[in-house]
Homo-oligomer: 306 residues x 2
């Protein structure tokens, strides 16, 4: 089943202890799309400038992304410049140039409006709401956000949150949004704001999923080579939503599986710069990594010998 | 099968956002013993001063701890004073008074020397080695340590590490000991120092177990009420070693199970101050929490629908 993503397409300049990338393909919608398209057809709603390189469009075409919602606008493409140090957990933003993003008003095509799944990448919650306004039927809506919107645009964020089924944010954002250090309490407060399902991303520690009275801990695969953590969160979301859109099964059991597929995709993207590791994965690689997650997390479920 | 622990017995003064404890029962050997005795008989080797309260000895007696190796020495008991802020992850040490610990020379009884399992709590590696020297046969030896010994007493620590089968340390200590930020690399370097099995404790994120080519991620239970994190690491170790000593099964499958029982015990001890939550647990509580860990960590191990 098809999935619409609204978010950013960017040119990323990234420096890590393992190398440097100049104006590589980036942005929340891009990382999401690169991952989700391994599971389901995807339709992109985003904006780029006149300077956006043709080769990057080829990447989307290779992944069979529907680009009817990608508008090319006068001006320059959104740019982000960041640096990671040895711990690789924290992105230090060196420069952000919003450029064409300042005038982004998502216009969904008739087909995009009918898609049963929508993902709202981290972007102004007013724009996220504009996207929701255009959807028809009762789509499943998931969103991401960040500190900037939580502290500076809280009212708009809360309006948007009322309308989403699932929120995916990182640990610090969850604590900030709920104003409590305790994640169990935070999960209750945040789910009181709208989303029935909360997925808290914890980077190299994995993710926690809160849904009803249930809680699930997804591990992250300990990796020896991490070249570039950029996009891990969005490719994680792409795996989760892509798998849900593919299977149409919203049970908690299947949600857990979706979250592991999200973790699998995140474990791949960080192994190389930009989108490089997600250019030519195959089913076997994805499934054998899923099995590694089983080995990593599973233990005998029989109590006893105590 | 019986287990010997060498470590500290202390009087802890602890302040957290949820209350304060004055001169409560603490110390690495104490937290370890309180947990391990739910699985196996335990023999304690430690020192206290003349001022050590009788009621605390009653705690050990209630847990059927063999106290023949607990010597009462002239002078005052080891004291630790610490504070936790809202994040509860970092203990801020306010005061440490070593007192009788300065003259601690463990003397194992004939029975203690024959025990097939030995745990060396965090203490001077010279004292840990003195303990190993006295063991007879081929016991399974596990040890803990900390930054202070890693940076200031590295040679003594490395001598001790050559002789242990398992090391349990936290994430920051692992990075410091191996001198690398990457935990996969660190695990290889540290296991090259002696211990075949490395357990990296990650507090509220759980633990990683490295053994041969295998790796296991044990989750931590997200808790709504954490009153006092003191002793979480030692009660974790007590569960791991207690379960291994009980089952005598050193397979990786059983090691995983032991690590989950360790996580279960750590999840209990933090719910109340000092040893209070470990005074009167019962089998049902332990086993039903083990089942909660299964629900928390397990997902469908069939790949597919992709």
């Amino acid at each position: 089943m098809s999935l619409t993503v609204i978010g950013t397409v960017a040119l990323d300049t990234v420096e890590t202890p393992f190398g440097k990338l100049e104006e590589g393909l980036g942005g929340s919608a891009t990382h999401f799309a690169a991952s989700a398209t391994y599971f389901t057809p995807l339709s992109l709603v985003a904006v780029v400038g006149e300077d956006f390189p043709e080769k990057h469009l080829d990447f989307f075409r290779d992944r069979s992304v529907d680009l009817t919602g990608l508008t090319r606008q006068k001006g320059k493409t959104f740019r982000w410049k960041g640096r990671y140090d040895h711990d690789l957990n924290t992105a230090h933003t060196l420069d952000t140039q919003l450029n064409v993003l300042l005038d982004f008003h998502p216009q969904l095509s008739p087909a995009q409006k009918k898609n049963p799944f929508l993902f709202l990448g981290n972007i102004d919650p007013v724009i996220q709401s504009l996207g929701i306004d255009q959807m028809e039927g009762k789509p499943f809506i998931a969103a991401d956000t960040m500190n900037y919107w939580i502290t500076g645009h809280r009212d708009n964020l809360l309006k948007m949150l009322k309308r989403v089924d699932m929120l995916l944010i990182n640990e610090g954002e969850a604590r900030l949004l709920a104003d409590t250090p305790n994640l169990v309490k935070a999960s209750r407060i945040i789910r009181g704001m709208g989303p029935k399902t909360l997925i808290i991303k914890r980077g190299e520690y994995g993710a926690l999923v809160f849904h009803g009275e249930e809680v699930f801990n997804a591990p992250a695969l300990p990796l020896e080579e991490i070249q570039d953590p950029t996009g891990a969160g969005d490719s994680f979301a792409g795996g989760v939503l892509g798998y849900l859109a593919k299977t149409q099964d919203m049970s908690f059991q299947n949600l857990k599986k979706a979250v592991i597929y999200g973790s699998v995709m995140a474990s791949f993207i960080v192994e190389k710069f930009s989108m490089d590791r997600l250019r030519d994965l195959n089913r076997n690689e994805i499934d054998s990594r899923y099995r590694r997650f089983c080995e990593l997390a599973h233990f005998d479920n029989l109590v006893g010998a105590v």
